[in-house]
C-alpha cells in the first residue's frame, strides 16, 4: 500500500522508524513538512530522510509543498500528522479535504480538523468511498476509538470519563508524591519534555476538552464544539489541597467526562479514591467507559510519544489495507 506522510515531527518520524524497523509492506511515495517535500513513486528512502532531518537539514525539496504532495503524488492513503491548530484546523483541514476529494483514504493524528469538522469530513469520505481514520487523535497508543466503534458496537455508552492529558497527570502525580507546588512540578515537566514552553493548551484543560469533543461527535453522535465543554484547569491547585485529599486516601486528577444523555461535557480537577483504576502515575492516560451490555471497561496506556502515537496511526493504516486497498 502506498502512503504519503505530511508532518515529519515526532509522530511522522515515529511512523517512518516503525516502517523501517518492521515489515509492514507500506511504501512512502510522498513526504512533506512545513519547509520542504519529496515525491517519489518508487518509494522514498526513509532512512536518508530521517538522517537529513536529524542533522537539521531539509528533509526534501523546498519547492515541494505539502499541498503539492497531496495533489500530485500517487498514493492510497494520506497520513496527516502535522501539528494541531484548534482555531480553524488549518492547514491540515485543507489537506484532508483535498485528499478525500481525490478519493484517497486519510489517517490523521491531528485533533483540529476532527474536532472542528468531523461531520463534514465523514460525509466527504463516504461520498468518495474512502476511509477517514483518527485513532491517534485521542489518548495516543490506547485503541479507544477502535474499541468503542468495533468491539463495543451495539452497546449504549452512558458515561465516559478519564485522564486524557499526560502532562497534567504528571504534574498532579508529582505534586502529590513530593508536595511540590504547581510551579515546581510544571518546571520539572518542562525539563523532561512533558510540557511545552507555553503549557496553556495542556494545563488549562483545552487538550482534554478537544478529545472529549472528538469522542462526543465521532463516537457518541453528539453535536458539540469546544465551547460546549465546561472547563477548569489545574493551575490553581495547591500542594495543601492534594494533602487534604490524601488524608482521606484520595488524590486529585484532571478528569474529562461525558454524560451523553445529560449533554454534559466537562474537564475539571476531581477528587478520586487512590484505589480507583483511573489513578495512574506519570504521563499515562486512563479512560473508563460505562456501557449497558459490557459493563464498565477501563483502558490504560501511553497517551503521547513518538512510537506510541505511530502505533495508533499504523493500526488505522493496516485496518484500511485489510478492508479496502487491493495490491500494494
Amino acid at each position: 500500500m502506498r502512503i504519503v506522510i505530511l508532518g515529519f515531527g515526532s509522530v511522522g518520524r515515529g511512523i517512518a522508524r516503525a516502517i523501517l524497523a518492521k515489515n509492514l509492506d507500506l511504501t512512502v511515495t510522498g513526504l512533506a513538512d512545513s519547509r520542504s517535500g519529496l515525491i517519489d513513486p518508487a518509494g522514498i528512502d526513509l532512512l536518508a530522510a530521517l538522517d537529513r532531518k536529524g542533522n537539521g537539514d531539509l528533509c526534501g525539496n523546498p519547492d515541494v509543498s505539502p499541498a503539492d504532495v497531496v495533489a500530485k503524488a500517487d498514493y492510497d492513503v494520506l497520513v496527516e500528522v502535522t501539528p494541531t491548530n484548534v482555531d480553524d484546523g488549518e492547514p491540515a483541514l485543507g489537506y484532508i479535504r483535498a485528499a478525500l476529494g481525490r478519493s484517497k483514504h486519510v489517517v490523521t493524528s491531528n485533533k483540529g480538523p476532527i474536532a472542528l469538522a468531523y461531520p463534514e469530513l465523514r460525509d466527504l469520505a463516504a461520498a468518495n468511498g474512502v476511509f477517514l481514520k483518527y485513532e491517534a487523535t485521542v489518548c495516543g497508543a490506547i485503541p479507544l476509538i477502535h474499541a468503542m466503534q468495533e468491539g463495543l458496537a451495539g452497546n449504549t455508552i452512558s458515561r465516559l470519563y478519564g485522564v486524557f492529558n499526560g502532562t497534567c497527570n504528571y504534574i498532579l502525580t508529582r505534586m502529590a508524591e513530593d508536595s511540590l507546588t504547581y510551579e515546581q512540578a510544571l518546571a520539572e515537566a518542562r525539563e523532561l519534555g512533558y510540557a511545552e514552553a507555553d503549557p496553556t493548551y495542556d494545563v488549562e484543560g483545552i487538550d482534554a476538552a478537544i478529545k472529549l469533543v472528538i469522542l462526543a461527535n465521532a463516537i457518541l453522535d453528539m453535536r458539540t464544539t469546544l465551547d460546549d465543554v465546561e472547563r477548569t484547569g489545574i493551575t490553581l491547585l495547591t500542594p495543601e489541597a492534594l494533602r487534604l485529599a490524601e488524608d482521606q486516601d484520595c488524590t486529585i486528577r484532571l478528569i474529562g467526562e461525558i454524560v451523553p444523555e445529560a449533554g454534559v461535557l466537562r474537564v475539571s480537577p476531581r477528587i478520586v479514591a487512590k484505589a480507583h483504576p483511573l489513578v495512574v502515575e506519570g504521563t499515562l492516560n486512563a479512560v473508563t467507559v460505562e456501557t449497558d451490555l459490557a459493563g464498565d471497561l477501563t483502558f490504560i496506556g501511553k497517551g503521547a510519544g513518538s512510537t506510541e502515537t505511530a502505533s495508533a496511526v499504523i493500526g488505522d493504516l493496516l485496518y484500511i489495507r485489510e478492508r479496502h486497498v487491493q495490491g500494494s
Binding site: T238, A241, L244, D247, S268, I271, H276, L278
Partner: protein, 163 residues
C-alpha cells in the same frame, strides 16, 4: 419511627414486611412491651434507612393497610455525604458565610471542615464535608456551593463519583 400495633402474634412481622417491600434497611427494632402491657396495643420503635425520599409515603400507606398506625416519625438523619475541596482566598471571602449558605438550607449541612493556610496572601485550601437528608438536597447544596465559588472566585474540586 414509632409504630403502634395490636398486641397479637404476627403483628411485628406485618409491620416489618412493608419496609423491605420499599427497599428500606432496618437498623434497629426497639420493642417496649412492659410499659404498655395494660393496653391492647404494642409500641415499637424502628430505626431504618430508606433508599429515597419518595419511598416514605409508600411505606406509610403499606403500614396502614397492615393495620399498623404510625405514632411518630422521628428526626431524619443526614444520610448522604459528600466531600469537596476548595481553594482560594477562603478567609478573606468570609469562610463562615460560605458554610452558612449551605447550613441555612436546613436540609444539608457542613459537618466537617479542614483548613490549610500556608502563608499570608497565598490561597488557602479547605476540605469540606457536607451531609444531607436526600440526594436531591445534596445536589442543591453543591449547586449553592458552586454559585458561592463563582461569586467569591474560589475553585471547587468535586468528587469523581456522584453523591
Amino acid at each position: 419511627m414509632k409504630l403502634e400495633m395490636r398486641d397479637q402474634p404476627g403483628q411485628l412481622v406485618a409491620a416489618l414486611q412493608p419496609i423491605s417491600a420499599v427497599g428500606g434497611n432496618i437498623i434497629a427494632v426497639i420493642h417496649q412491651r412492659e410499659t404498655l402491657a395494660a393496653t391492647e396495643t404494642l409500641d415499637v420503635q424502628i430505626v431504618l434507612e430508606l433508599p429515597e425520599e419518595g419511598s416514605l409515603p409508600k411505606l406509610l400507606e403499606l403500614l396502614r393497610e397492615q393495620g399498623v398506625s404510625v405514632v411518630r416519625i422521628g428526626e431524619q438523619r443526614l444520610l448522604y455525604e459528600c466531600t469537596l475541596i476548595t481553594i482560594g482566598h477562603l478567609m478573606h471571602t468570609d469562610l463562615s458565610d460560605t458554610v452558612d449558605r449551605i447550613d441555612t438550607t436546613g436540609s444539608a449541612e457542613v459537618t466537617d471542615l479542614s483548613l490549610a493556610m500556608p502563608a499570608i496572601n497565598s490561597p488557602s485550601s479547605a476540605r469540606i464535608t457536607i451531609r444531607s437528608t436526600t440526594r436531591e438536597e445534596m445536589k442543591k447544596a453543591i449547586r449553592i456551593l458552586r454559585g458561592v465559588a463563582e461569586q467569591k472566585d474560589l475553585l471547587i474540586i468535586e468528587p469523581l463519583e456522584g453523591v
